[in-house]
Amino acid sequence: METRELTCINCPMGCRITVKLDGDNILSVEGNTCKRGDTYARTEVTAPVRTVTTTIKVINGVQDRISCKTKSPVPKDKIFDVMEVINKVACEAPVKIGDILIENAADTGIPVLATKNVDKI
């Protein structure tokens, strides 16, 4: 049996939540003061995900970097793999918000999208 300590992010209370689990099987969630804390804790211990937001190099653009994000959240342990891939590529201006810059970031199956318009120089 494993015990995990979490801080709930739903409101400024920041309840300390204790989750007891056996493998992927959650045995108990304690310390939360509302239902939202329970839901948060269950997702966070079984499959934590995060959206990665960063920048990509732009060629021939009015600015040298363009901001981008993963289209949906990626598994938390893939964050640095996704960053490594993003930092290796460059895109060519013009780029529009929503353009796909990388099809499948670090085998997550999730694309990386531009979050800014950058015109050609």
Binding site: C11, P12, M13, G14, T53, T55, K69
Partner: protein, 417 residues
């Protein structure tokens, strides 16, 4: 040059104010003056997501949020000038400068102040030590990394746990820097819980509460900082000093509304917010001059800035159409126990169209307490809150029908259980 409404600043507040004014009257000639080379203001460098949950019901990044507003400028025929710095404002005139037109004036019917805020720099913090390169405000570092594409350093200590500091701890880590610690003078963080978890805990970055930087070392470049624990009077405790080797110190120690123009024009400033004193229409002490966004009071959510600025823009448009209103029967809104300030500070009942939204911040952390609002001594609202912190803006809404011409005073207070 002439415009009906001049909006000073093209960030989130300026964009929403201009659109708000245009929505009120499509015929008005509206001009935004922006000193940077693009619109969007601070949103351009806030590439992280979490913007727009209230406004668009989705999580956008800063540049995406700004684009949603910029796209509307064309529809409403709103003009803007970039690379243009406003030098002076008067009741019906704005003086500005840019390299194409030189110094020029714009005659106008109303002005909306949307200059935003600035970070408190090292000089305002009195940190002892040497003056090497490598000390940046968190926002400067954010601009360098996210827009210019430069890394300010490799080993980082961050002073202040405001949201920008937390966001930059993650950003620097993602780009390969080692963030050794985030020090916070107060016994609590001023940042959103979500940011503490996703920016610090995710990457095992320690948050040292009740700690500050007491020395900066290094000749050419920062080589280390000395941190120490502080007592309840924020004084460093002897014997708790520890030296952390690093090449960069980022400062995230609060934001100051940028009111040089307002002060020069003798706009009355509220010492608690460092922003103009405004009434229910976001009008300052000078008739026809309105203020909204972070120049008015520092916000933690851009959605609130947009909503508030839209109302300020609408008020400016109405002022242009109907002219100055006599300042009769302005009710004072008093910030009482536990409340640092309220926005607005006064209400003219006959100018109030809808319910009255009062936003405020607390003076400290309150647990299991009540937000209490009275009208002429009579309790109107008593709302229980599990927690209230200075880091999260609170609001109360008073019903239009509860407010009439006979009201003299509204008070907002926080009382403990």
């Amino acid at each position: 040059m002439r415009a009906d409404v001049v909006v000073i600043g093209g960030g989130p507040a300026g964009l929403a104010a201009a659109i708000g004014a245009a929505k009120e009257d499509k015929e008005l000639n509206i001009l935004i003056l922006e000193r940077d080379h693009e619109l969007g203001g601070i949103l351009n460098q806030c590439i992280h997501n979490g913007f727009g949950l209230h406004t668009f019901n989705e999580e956008l990044t800063g540049p995406e949020y700004a684009a949603r507003f910029e796209n509307q400028l064309k529809d409403y025929n709103i003009d803007y000038l970039l690379d243009t710095m406003v030098l002076d404002i008067a009741q019906n005139k704005v003086t500005a400068v840019n390299s194409a037109n030189g110094v020029f004036s714009v005659e106008c019917g109303a002005i909306v102040l949307c200059m935003g805020c600035r970070e408190r720099p090292r000089g305002a913090l009195n940190i002892p030590g040497l003056r090497p390169a490598g000390v940046f405000t968190a926002g400067t570092a954010q601009r360098l990394v996210n827009i210019e594409g430069y890394m300010p350093g490799k080993e980082v200590v961050i002073l202040g746990s405001g949201d920008i500091g937390l966001i930059m701890a993650r950003r620097m880590t993602l780009e390969g820097a080692k963030v050794k610690a985030v020090c916070e003078l107060m016994p609590y963080s001023g940042g959103l819980k979500r940011n503490i978890v996703q920016c610090l805990d995710d990457f095992d970055i320690p948050l040292l509460l009740s700690h500050t930087v007491i020395d900066i070392k290094g000749n050419e470049r920062v080589t280390s900082v000395v941190i120490a624990e502080v007592d309840e009077h924020s004084k460093p405790k002897k014997g708790t000093e520890q030296e952390i080797s690093c090449d960069t110190l980022l400062l995230s120690c609060g934001l100051l509304p940028e009111n040089e123009l307002s002060r020069a024009a003798d706009v009355k400033i509220n010492p608690a917010t460092n922003g103009p004193v405004v009434n229910e229409s976001f009008e300052t002490s000078i008739p026809g001059v309105f203020a909204c966004g972070n120049v008015l009071h520092v916000h933690d959510l851009v959605d609130y800035v947009s909503e508030e600025s839209a109302r300020a823009g609408k008020s400016a448009a109405r002022y242009v159409k109907s002219g100055q209103k006599p300042d009769v029967n302005a009710i004072q809104i008093k910030a009482e126990k536990g409340v640092r300030y309220t926005v607005p500070s006064t209400v003219r009942i006959n100018e109030l169209e809808d319910d009255l939204i009062i936003r405020f911040r607390s003076t400290g952390v309150f647990k299991d307490s009540y937000i209490e609002v009275t009208i002429d001594g009579q309790q109107k609202i008593r709302r229980r809150k599990q927690i209230i912190t200075p880091g999260e803006m609170e609001q109360v809404i008073l019903k239009r029908e509860d407010l009439n011409q006979d009201v003299n005073e509204i008070t907002v207070a926080i009382t403990e259980g």
